[in-house]
């Protein structure tokens, strides 16, 4: 059982998750200096998606996504669809872990083997998932204020480097590139929010759950908007687009006098926490969805074995970063929208017809 306020924080951190480091560059590469507009567009579409999820969640209070997929589509089809949910969640988990590993090895710890980072992270994630969702919610309760404070500090320290000219010329190439850039943004992370329907029923007061889902998404989207905007204002469009991790580059720029510099550690701590939250939620959802697909009474026993598989898959899921970038931009949105838009709409449709 989790409180609505905790759910809201979980949703926010989930949305921020890995997008905090990856989004600005993703948007800027197509939209250049208008990336901030793309961010707004993406967020709006994202909220629409969330509206669909909310509708689905409302129809089946107290039941998880897997549970009512089986209810709506019957035993056989339902199990297949549930398995699709599981694979979606699991692949997402693997990608998030890999994202983190790649980021840390390329920017902060070049000498560390990526496996070491994966193992350490997996340990705390496994502990978290085994402790249960209420525990995850409480952990989020504790870390959320810290993230907010650090973000505020981060933004404040960069304010004097802002130049609004960097946003010009606005809409130079028209609205097309802006919309094109927003397209992958919808797939990542908004279409992933459908998975939160596995946790949605655990929120204490269902009426508030829907509100929390929306506000959480809104807040997360807002934070991403600010970071994207900041990135453009301080680094400029070209730099944002060319850097893989522009927010990190942003962090490196912070300098107060001679004493405070190289404090990109602040950013690292923020990422560490937001990615952790997204990872632990994703892994929890993966294990839960598998356990419910197989009609098991409890999910806990699956955690460790699935963790082992996760570790292995994270290793070979992508051969290198460029593969991942092109996959993220071209293929993932299709996959995500199929599972995150088409499938929920299908379920919703069938459910409404049946009633």
């Amino acid at each position: 059982m989790i409180e609505a306020s905790q759910f809201k924080k979980m949703v926010s951190l989930f949305v921020i998750g890995t997008s905090l480091i990856l989004l600005p560059s993703m948007l800027a590469s197509k939209a250049k200096q208008d990336a901030w507009i793309s961010s707004i567009v993406g967020m709006i579409v994202g909220l629409v998606l969330v509206g669909i999820y909310y509708a689905l969640g409302r129809l089946f209070p107290g039941k998880t996504l897997v549970e009512y997929s089986k209810e709506i589509l019957g035993k056989w089809l339902g199990t297949i669809v549930s398995f699709l949910w599981f694979t979606y969640a699991f692949i997402l988990t693997v990608l998030v872990l890999r994202n983190l590993g790649d980021f840390l090895t390329s920017s902060m710890f070049p000498e560390t083997p990526i496996q070491a980072i994966h193992i350490v992270y997996l340990c705390i994630v496994v502990i978290g998932v085994r402790y249960g969702i209420s525990n995850i919610a409480r952990t989020v309760d504790i870390f959320f204020p810290l993230v907010i404070i650090l973000l505020i500090v981060f933004v404040s320290l960069l304010l004097h480097d802002i130049e609004f000219d960097r946003l010009q010329p606005m809409l130079a190439k028209g609205i097309q590139p802006v919309l094109q850039a927003a397209y992958p943004y919808i797939g990542f992370p908004f279409a992933e929010l459908v998975l939160l329907l596995m946790i949605y029923p655990k929120v204490k007061r269902t009426k508030e759950a829907g509100k929390s889902l929306l506000t959480g998404t809104l807040f997360g989207g807002l934070v991403l908007f600010v970071i994207t905007l900041l990135s453009l204002l301080v680094l400029g469009a070209e730099n944002t687009a060319s850097e893989l991790y522009p927010s990190f580059r942003l962090a490196k720029k912070i300098q107060i006098g001679e004493f405070i510099q190289r404090v990109e550690v602040i950013m690292a701590v923020i990422w560490f926490i937001t990615i952790f939250v997204k990872l632990v939620i994703c892994f929890y959802i993966s294990v839960q969805s598998l356990s419910q697909t197989l009609n098991l009474p409890d999910y806990r026993s699956l955690v460790l074995p699935l963790g082992m598989i996760l570790y292995a898959v994270a290793y070979f899921i992508v051969p290198n970063i460029s593969y991942l970038i092109s996959f993220d931009a071209k293929v993932w949105p299709l996959y995500a929208l199929t599972i995150g838009l088409v499938l929920p709409l299908l379920l919703l449709g069938v459910a409404i017809i049946k009633k």
Partner: protein, 70 residues
Amino acid sequence: MWSVLLILAVGMAIIMIDVPTLRRNKSRKELWAFSVLLIGGVALNIVVGLGVEVPSPLELIKIIYGPIVR
């Protein structure tokens, strides 16, 4: 060689952690799922550890969506 032993050791540890509770609760279905996943996990890790090239599931997704991707 060492990595294989390490992986097996981890597998053993996982068995020691989870199996007693599972057997006590007589949850056959869980035990079954657990074992399958564990064997899969150990096997997969050994395979990767030995340097074998394993195809990524993303490849599968790419194939499915191939024609639509420009």
